[in-house]
Symmetry: D3
Subunit: 61 residues, 6 copies
């Protein structure tokens, strides 16, 4: 019953999200040995001003 | 001091969110035995293209 | 399809967790109008040295 | 390799977020003894109707 | 810069976790188009008494 | 009302956690302009086998 949360920068297309969810689910099913129905994935998009790395906002790089 | 995070699909009305927060808080206070002031709830809404189930986006079902 | 995460201090009994999950699920089903099967709840327990409030660890209060 | 998630009410300026990320990173680097590059911070903003405290939405206070 | 959190029931071997992290990272790199170094994955294991589904703890099924 | 979650590798002392919570709270209070009582921090410790970077578990580096 894996619950997956993925936070990433905005900018991916619907087609990319569709492939992402398909591929990540397959990866979990095949390695953790659970049925596909058990895998839930939440995608969250961040604006560049909401990601900090090494103390600097991504929008300032 | 329970901290609650609820991720759900968008589409609930303000009145539903109001009732949700009231009822979930009561449920926690009565079972976990803590004061109401200790319960914090964060609601997050997802678009159907941000939820994956069994490898498929909700918007594709 | 609500996904619920609850972080709370350790110390509740199994019976309390059982009631907590039952009651929180009912509260969500009745207010957000979703089937019970759609509600997933993750409980996480914290040690008092892992909760900070107003800049002070709970274990130091 | 600390991963930090901060959920807060909307309304901070870009300059406040810039300072927040800088200062929180410094605080972690100096106390947890890790290089700045290892610290990732995700900021998330909530609307007042998405925060519940003591069973009441912030927008209803 | 995807940050991934995976909550799952305890019981996977180290070899399964190793494969899981490898495969999920590949899936994200190839679909979201980011370098492997950008992908961070946090695994968290749950006891069966910490997962609620349809209002029932997993340990009670 | 910032809620902060920090996931980091295990191995910090109680004194380090105490300073971490104190310093991160100060950083948030001074930049986001909120009272100290409003800042809640959840610390979570990871084993090296539960952190993946660039597709490799930390325990395998």
């Amino acid at each position: 019953m894996p619950i997956v949360q993925i936070d990433m920068l905005e900018g991916r297309t619907l087609e990319q999200k569709r492939e992402l969810v398909k591929r990540v689910t397959e990866a979990i099913v095949e390695t953790a040995k659970c049925p596909p129905e058990a895998v839930k994935i939440i995608l969250r998009e961040m604006k560049p001003e909401h990601l900090g790395e090494a103390g600097v906002l991504r929008c300032d790089r």
